[in-house]
Symmetry: C2
Subunit: 215 residues, 2 copies
């Protein structure tokens, strides 16, 4: 085992905050939020309980929301993908990063999306909804659509929800099938769902034609 | 307007309970659960507040859960469909009833599925999850599958989640497109999503072949 970091290294405020959030996220990845106490966070970060309270005077609820916000930012970074090259491989790369995030945060990801936790509030729901909306905006912008009609918007949002559901089931099923198979399958589902909408929606039909000759 | 029911008609316990739940569900359809008081329910049902408390001594939370359970039972009845005739039309008929339910319960349906309500608890989440699981069991049984593999199960559960998402968006978008167009589109999405899975999963491939010659 590598030696522990020197006990007296002083972290600045931002570093300390990040360290505490990181410790909290690791705990949330293995246990339900209501089973994680501030004592546990203090212990995991090797700091005193009063120090945790100094950073999060609102207690567990504040810590949970801050950790959630930090996870949401990290999740949104998964969507950053250069606007270059064929579209479906771009989507595949973003999904790779997304599934890596799901894999890493594990139980914390499930708790977050499944709700029903005692620390679930309209604020935490709003954070999660913000990520969903950001994902839809990203996808539509990669598709090059500036004024998506209702059928195309519904199609993209349905697929995003289906991806979430697939991630939760994937965690439930011991991460089977392997992430790269799941990724390819989700990309194929995206293309198929667009094709179905294309039968009823000229805007989506045009997109599907463009995708067919893309790359 | 028809004359109001005679004010002094005595209802038996079950009738009274149903009447109160019906009144509560109508209120939940137009307002967030946290904005519905027992006073409102008493007023809507033309009974005294103490009477509402006699039936629901646990107060609003108990009333909400009872109303939710009653709505969940009603929702599950949408899935009852004779095992006769081609499969996709059976799915279309179940979706017709489901969309009728969504239409009728409106805001109450959104509140229920979007969570984040102050009365959301792990018990209410369990009720909703029960309906989802029942839907998956129904679909797999109509498909005639007794031992669904992980890929087929994931496909069915993803589609159910996508249908939920579509219903919420549909309510958000002033119930556009019309219910019958939405229904047909969801059935087509189901067939398409199975076809994608069929490329990787022999069990699903067999089902898709059976569907193609069905009816």
């Amino acid at each position: 085992m590598p030696p522990a970091a020197p006990a007296y290294r002083r972290l600045n405020v931002e570093e300390r905050r990040s360290q505490l959030l990181e410790a909290a996220l690791t705990l949330f990845a293995h246990r339900a939020p209501e089973e994680v106490s501030l004592d546990d966070v203090a212990e995991a970060a090797s700091v005193s309980r009063p120090l945790v309270y100094r950073y999060f005077p609102g207690g567990k609820q504040q810590l949970y929301e801050a950790a959630l916000r930090s996870a949401a930012e990290e999740l949104q970074q998964c969507f950053d993908e250069p606007r270059e090259g064929p579209l479906l491989p771009r989507l595949a790369r973003a999904l790779d990063r997304y599934l890596g995030f799901v894999d890493q945060h594990d139980a914390g990801f499930s708790a977050l999306l499944q709700g029903g936790s005692v620390v679930e509030t309209s604020r935490t729901t709003a954070i999660v909804d913000g990520v969903r909306r950001a994902a839809a905006v990203h996808i539509l912008s990669h598709l090059g659509v500036t004024a998506p009609g209702p059928r195309l918007r519904m199609t993209v949002r349905m697929w995003i929800t289906a991806v979430e559901a697939a991630s939760l089931i994937w965690l439930d099923e011991d991460k089977q099938p392997p992430a790269d198979e799941l990724r390819d399958w989700l990309v194929e589902q995206f293309a198929a769902t667009l094709s179905v909408t294309a039968r009823r929606d000229p805007q989506t039909a045009e997109l599907v034609r463009a995708l067919a000759t893309d790359g």
